[in-house]
Amino acid sequence: MWKWLHPYANPEVAYQFTGKLIPWFNGIAFILLSIGLFLGLAYSPADYQQGETVRIFYIHVPAAILSMGLYFAMAIAGLSALVWQLKLAHAAIAAIAPVGAAFTAIALITGAAWGKPMWGTWWIWDARLTSELILLFLYFGVIALGNAFEDKSQGAKAVSVLALVGVVNLPIIHYSVEWWNTLHQGATVTKFAAPSMAMSMYIPFVICFFGCAFLAGSLICKRFQGQVLARNSLRPWVKQLALAEDN
């Protein structure tokens, strides 16, 4: 009855596959993060200009990059959902959105915490922080639209369209905010320039980044499993799983 083109498009296979991935992702993320944070916090030198606050850099920038990257990943899932009618892609969007929003929130809070010692106020309407905030709104939009529909199948198409519309608007928002920020150059004391990358700073950053990426991967896989179950709750393999879980 179901003629699946792609082997992983079968929900059960996808469920088992992501199940196997999770322990690996967890392990790698744990190792990378512990090394990266240890190096970043304890070993790497303080920045001549910003002093110790530069250490926030090792969590702020990975989170910011991930928040942008996850939104693009969500948009790709949206595209594949609409173009190839991949049911699993709907589950992927619903899985990625909250994790993306979490990393955007981390980027915002760490950005604000970094801004306080440098400019004396918690929140500064700097170009990057403002576009990060707008990205957070986009994520909340996708999550809210997903929850608004009672039955998941109807909501899924709407969410993938919103994800696509969002990703098209991301560069537009980014550059308009950038332009807006130069317009009010007086507002920010120093340009939010990323510190020049001494090698001793670059390695911990890269390790931290991949650590965060694998952590995000593991969270997404777990939520993906939940979504696959929710969308195939009538399937026999899901019922067996529910019964197996029972005893």
Partner: protein, 228 residues
């Protein structure tokens, strides 16, 4: 004859039911809050991010945003009950209508305005509000938002039977909100210049008690009229 339901029990039953329904519709709580944040971000971006400019307009912007997001979520107060018929059951219950209406308004206030008040300091920070203004903002919101809910309930009760009640609702209620808005923003501004603002608070408190006593009766009458 069974014991007549004491007014307190009726009040609690309605309050519990409404809170349970509101919590089951979690996005009804979150959406007005997101609206509140986005409106303030729009103001900040459009006005340009000069700290001193933001500081002067901060009280006004926060209060207008709070007012609009309360207005946004007022619709929910009687609309669903009218559509599924439980509003009639409410009007026909042995317990006087104004107590049930008060319970619904309190439930609405707890669900929409309380989170808003807790979020306001975070946004005051984004708007670069003067540190002295935080307490005044908190107090004016704490006393002001119940007035918004009470007066708004009258407007909703009047327009509940109309199909396109939304715009008409804001047309009816916004004029009623102007005194609260003026007093509240004046209080916060007075606080930022650390001159005494207790006078403003006292008047807002007086407005609050006046509307607390008169609004439920007005809403009861309005509901009887609109379900006629």
């Amino acid at each position: 004859m069974n014991p007549a339901l004491s007014y307190r029990q009726a009040f609690n039953t309605i309050l519990k039911r409404d809170l349970k329904i509101a919590l089951r519709h979690r996005d009804d709580i979150v959406n007005p809050l997101l609206f509140f944040i986005i409106v303030i971000t729009l103001f900040a971006i459009s006005v340009g991010a000069m700290p001193n400019v933001l500081m002067t307009i901060a009280p006004g912007v926060i209060w207008v945003a709070a007012l609009l997001s309360t207005l946004l979520s007022l619709e929910r107060l009687f609309k669903n009950d009218y559509q599924d018929g439980s509003l009639e059951q409410l009007l026909l219950s042995p317990c006087p209508v104004f107590i049930l209406v008060l319970a619904k308004i309190v439930a609405h206030w707890l669900v929409t305005s309380l989170p808003l008040i807790l979020l306001a300091p975070l946004l005051a920070m984004m708007m670069n509000l003067h540190p002295d203004g935080y307490l005044a903002l908190f107090l004016t919101l704490l006393l002001g938002t119940p007035i918004l809910s009470l007066l708004g309930a009258i407007g909703v009760a009047l327009t509940v039977a109309l199909k396109k009640g939304g715009v008409l609702l804001s047309l009816l209620i916004l004029p009623l909100y102007i005194p609260v808005l003026i007093l509240a923003t004046a209080a916060v501004e007075a606080a930022t210049m650390n001159s005494p603002y207790q006078g403003h608070l006292a008047i807002i408190a007086a407005l609050f008690f006046a509307s607390l006593i008169t609004a439920p009766f007005a809403v009861g009458a309005a509901l009887k009229v609109s379900t006629n």
